[in-house]
Symmetry: C2
Subunit: 357 residues, 2 copies
C-alpha cells in the first residue's frame, strides 16, 4: 500500500511542498536507476561524468534530501554521533558542541546530545538505550564521563566506537584527544616565577579529576627546577568551585605572612581568590597576582581580567568527531588507539604582574 500521497502536480500549482522528493523521483527525473543516484550521492566511483551531472541536476531541481532513516536502516551508518556529558561547565560543553557539529556538517552527520549525571544509578542504561535505538555511529565523551568504567564497558559491549576528550586513565583503551595539563601548569608557574614571584600559593582542584593531580605536579615541577622548596601551608585543597576558591583565599591571605601570587587550578577558584582579596582590601594585581586555568568566559568578565590557560576545545572536539567519522576511532591496533595532544595557550591578562615586595 502506498502510504504517503505525492502531490507533485498540486505542488507545482500551489507552490507548496507537502512532500519531499525521494531517490525514486530523482532517478526518474534524471532517467537513471536509483542505484546510480545512490552512487552519485555517496560519491562512489564508476559513474560517467555526464550521468553524474544529470543526477546532480535532478537532485537540485527537486530539492532532494536523502532520508537519513532509510539510509540508516538499509546501510551500516546512521550519520548520527552522540555526545554524552555531565556538565563540567556550560562554556566548556558549548565549545565541545560547536566544534563537533562543525566537523559533522562537513560529512552530513548530525549530533545528538545526552546530558547525564555522572552519579546516576542507571547511567549505563541511558547510554545503552541511546546507542542502540539511535544506532549511533560514534560517541564522544567528556570528563568525568570519559573515565567511567561502566560507560566504557557498555559502549564496548554494544560495539560502539567512541572518542574520549581529556581522559585520565587507561589511554590505551580507546581513541582520545587531550592536552598536557602538567606542562600547562608548569608554564603558568614559570610565568609567575619569571615575574619575580618566589612565594606562590597554590589551590588544588577537585581530587576526583585527573587534571587536578597533573596541574599540581606541573606547579611543583616548575618550583623544583628553580630550586625553590614548596611550603606546605601554601598549598590548599579546593573543589573547582568559586566558593572553595574563596575559602582557599581566606586561608592563604590571612595574616601578614602571605604569598605574593596565587595560582588556582581553575578559573572559578581564581575568581574566588580574587573575591577574597577584594574583601581584604588586597589589590590585584598590585599586592597579589592571581592566575587561573581554563580561560572561561568569566576570566574576561572580572576586573582585572584573569591571566589563565586556554585550550583549543573547538578543535579538540572537531578532531574527536573526525576520528569517529573517518573510522579511525574504531580500527586501531589493540592497545594503540589514536590519541592526540593539543597545545595550550598561556594568556597573560591583567591579574598578574611583578611583586611589590
Amino acid at each position: 500500500m502506498r502510504q504517503s500521497r505525492r502531490l507533485w502536480a498540486a505542488d507545482l500549482r500551489t507552490g507548496t511542498e507537502l512532500t519531499t522528493a525521494t531517490i525514486t523521483d530523482v532517478a526518474r527525473e534524471a532517467g537513471v536507476s536509483i542505484k546510480t543516484v545512490s552512487r552519485v550521492l555517496n560519491r562512489e566511483p564508476n559513474v560517467r561524468e555526464e550521468t553524474r551531472e544529470a543526477v546532480l541536476a535532478a537532485s537540485r531541481a527537486l530539492n532532494y534530501r536523502p532520508n537519513l532513516s532509510a539510509r540508516s536502516l538499509a546501510g551500516s551508518r546512521s550519520f548520527l554521533i552522540g555526545l554524552f556529558f555531565d556538565n563540567p561547565s556550560p562554556a566548556y560543553v558549548s565549545d565541545v558542541q560547536r566544534g563537533a557539529v562543525s566537523r559533522c556538517r562537513e560529512s552530513g552527520y548530525h549530533l545528538t546530545i545526552e546530558p547525564v549525571a555522572a552519579d546516576a544509578v542507571d547511567l549505563e542504561g541511558v547510554v545503552e538505550q541511546a546507542v542502540s535505538t539511535l544506532r549511533l555511529d560514534g560517541v564522544i565523551l567528556t570528563p568525568p564521563i570519559c573515565d567511567d568504567p561502566r560507560v566504557l564497558s557498555v559502549l564496548e559491549s554494544v560495539g560502539a566506537s567512541y572518542v574520549r576528550i581529556a581522559p585520565d586513565r587507561e589511554k590505551g583503551r580507546a581513541a582520545w584527544v587531550g592536552m598536557d595539563d602538567r606542562a600547562a601548569a608548569q608554564a603558568m608557574t614559570d610565568h609567575l616565577l619569571d615575574l619575580g614571584h618566589v612565594d606562590i600559593g597554590f589551590v588544588k582542584g577537585h581530587p576526583d579529576h585527573g587534571a587536578s593531580r597533573l596541574r599540581q605536579e606541573g606547579f611543583l615541577q616548575a618550583l623544583a627546577e628553580r630550586g625553590i622548596a614548596p611550603r606546605d601551608d601554601r598549598i590548599v585543597q579546593g573543589w573547582f568551585s568559586f566558593r572553595s576558591g574563596f575559602e582557599a583565599g581566606e586561608r592563604l591571605l590571612a595574616g601578614a605572612d602571605r604569598p605574593t601570587a596565587i595560582f588556582a587550578s581553575n578559573d572559578d577558584m581564581a575568581l574566588g581568590v580574587m573575591a577574597s582579596a577584594t574583601r581584604r582590601r588586597i589589590a590585584v594585581p598590585e599586592d597579589l597576582s592571581v592566575a587561573g586555568f581554563d580561560d572561561t568566559p568569566a576570566a574576561r568578565t572580572v576586573w582585572p581580567q584573569l591571566t589563565t590557560i586556554g585550550q583549543p576545545i573547538l578543535e579538540m572536539a572537531a578532531v574527536a568527531a573526525d576520528l569517529l567519522i573517518t573510522g579511525e576511532a574504531r580500527d586501531f591496533p589493540a592497545g594503540h588507539p589514536p590519541g592526540r595532544v593539543f597545545d595550550f595557550c598561556l594568556t597573560v591578562r591583567d591579574s598578574t604582574t611583578r611583586p611589590s615586595r
Copy 2:
C-alpha cells in the same frame, strides 16, 4: 538477501552481543506476530493483558531496543527533536538542553542540536537540511533565532512544527513559552525603591533584543507608579556585554552626582558595573546597590553575590518539548497557538541594600 548475521547461539556461548534483537526475534520468543509486539511497545489498546506481559517478558529477555530508523521510516514519527540556537549564553543553552532532554526521555525522544549563527548567509539552508534529512518531529528555537522570519518561513514551508522560547514578535504565529520581562523588571525596580532608593541608574540591553525594550518599560513603569520622574542622564545604552556594562558604570559613577543604585538589564552588564565601582573604590553594596537580570552562574561567582531575576529555563524548555511531543504545537486554531507565560524569581542576594545617603 540477509545482510546481517545473527549469532544467537554464539552470543550465548561467548557472552558477547554482536547483534541486537529485532521485533521479529521478540515476536518469535513471545509466540505472537510482530504486529502484536508493535502494539504492546506503542501502548496501543486491544491487547490481552496476558499477551502483553509475554511480549514484555520476551522484550526484556532479549534486551530488545526498537530501531528508531525503522520506526521513523515506516511511521510518521522520527522521535527526534531539533534544537536550533545561536548561543545567547552557554549557561542559558545548557539549561534549555537539559530541560528539553528530560522531557524527551520520558517519551523515548532524542534531541539533536544545531548551533547556528544568526547572521549566517545560509541559515535557512542549514535548517531545511536538518529538518528534511532527519525528519524532525519538532523544532525548538531560542532567541534570537526564534524571531528570524527566514527560519520561521522555511520551517512552515516544510511542514515542521516548532516552539519558540521567549519570542519577541508575531506570537500568534506558532507555539511559544516565555516570561513577563516587563513585570520582572518592574519587580526588581520595586525592590530597589522599597529599600529606599530614589535615584536609580538603568543600563539598557541590546537594542535588537525584544527583552531590552520590555525591561526598560518595566523600570519606567515602577518609577511612574511612585511618582518619580526618570532622569535622562541616568539611563545608559548597553549591549548585554560585560564591557558595555563597565562603560555604563564609568559614565554613571563619574563625579559626585551619582545614583545610589544601578539596575542593569542583564547580569553580565551588572558585573561590569560592579567592576567599574570597584575600580573607583565605591563599595558595593554599602555605597552602591547593583542589580542584574538572568541569574547566570556568574551572579554567584562575584563578591558580593548579585541580586537578580531568575527564569525557570529548565521548565520552559521541558514544556516546549512537551508541546512538540503531544502535538499541541502542531494542531491549534489558526492565529491561536498555545503559549505559556512562566513565573520569574526575584533573588535578593548581597549586592543590594538600603542607601547610605
